[in-house]
Symmetry: C2
Subunit: 224 residues, 2 copies
Amino acid sequence: MPRDTLTRDQIVHTAVALLDAEGLEGLNMRALGKRLDSAATAVYWHVKNKDNLVLLATDQVWGELELPDLDAVDWRTATTAMAVDLYGMFTRHPWLVQAFAAHVLYGEGKARHDDHSLAVYEAAGFTRDQADQAASAVFTYVLGNAAGVAATASLTRKLTRDDTAAEEQFQDAMAKAQEIAMRYPHLRARLETPAAATYAAAPDQAFEVGLQILLDGLEQQVAA
Amino acid sequence: MPRDTLTRDQIVHTAVALLDAEGLEGLNMRALGKRLDSAATAVYWHVKNKDNLVLLATDQVWGELELPDLDAVDWRTATTAMAVDLYGMFTRHPWLVQAFAAHVLYGEGKARHDDHSLAVYEAAGFTRDQADQAASAVFTYVLGNAAGVAATASLTRKLTRDDTAAEEQFQDAMAKAQEIAMRYPHLRARLETPAAATYAAAPDQAFEVGLQILLDGLEQQVAA
DNA sequence: GCAGTGTCTTGCACAAAGTTCAAGATAGCT
DNA sequence: AGCTATCTTGAACTTTGTGCAAGACACTGC
């Protein structure tokens, strides 16, 4: 064993931690080096470049997912569990969404997840095309939700860090948003009612309800 | 009129063009300056910073959307049209997705769109909460689809530009992806059949079918 | 016509960040 | 003990965002 040498695994792990804490634009090689107690450039021996590092981090994170037992539960329970789990992954690692929008990321983790999805749908009586469609639609829906979460996370990070200037900029944006919303009748109605905080304030709940609606649609399809 | 001065509008327009052509990471102030035939830093007189510029570009692009006449068509036709239009916007400007995942973007354009969505659903008999939920779910679904499109667009750009190194890297990734897929039975089955090109090759079609499924779910909800 | 002022543009410069490279350090092998 | 393969380091180059001071231009009032 060479002295106290870096590992690719250790680097990826640290990168994930950094990404979680600082977001995609907060990841930089020098900061990573500092966390690893090594020169920034030492990383380049183990990893081709930054893009590649993000890709490895993505693969790593997919490993967190648990796949439900196919025989133990009905398909809606199973797909709901998978979708919620996926959503959780994105929530824990908001930078993932940006990574997904920026590069085509297909690796072991996604393959494992997709395969299991397809298995669930096919076991439930979906044709192969229907299963494809269902898996794709659900993943897409989760990803879309995750984008909202990621945006919010980025904002939150900015606000908790340099509360000096960012705070008032935020207040400004909020005020402007409100002013805009007031000019549109349906949005206005929502602002003017106590129950205003419906879905905007509870993205997780909106996600789950929407998911069930989507699954309703899928169920209807397979029943026909 | 001062000589040949820059306009904020002109800058934003050019920025959109550059973003469309080069993607989010292809937008830089010096390139923008070159397109505008001015110094890169001249932009800073009209725009606070790069983030702000992207935000303005986003607003600009929302203006492209057409809103269907509420009385002319039934709600499914209307929402389908809106969703497809939205999807088109994301397809034409893939960088939008990344922008949406990176910042909370709420402006005139989104407000206008949201308001009209809500109007459609409420006119169709959805309760207010149901309308909220429906609008959110559909937008989210479109955004998720757009993420896939954006990723592909970024890849395509990379491939058409420096075909030298990127090409073989791409082939490499494809080969690896295939190798992975072969280890998972359901994915493998899809690779081994002529009909393999189902949804992976036709994202637009998958989008529309999935959208209808989601709308089925929503319809069921309002009928109950 | 001319000085003055407000509006915009430019060039310079700096800092942050990705990446390369040559040189150094270390562990194991002979 | 020396050689080599494996890593680490520091310096350096490049790209990119952005601040700043100085300049250029048009329009005003005299």
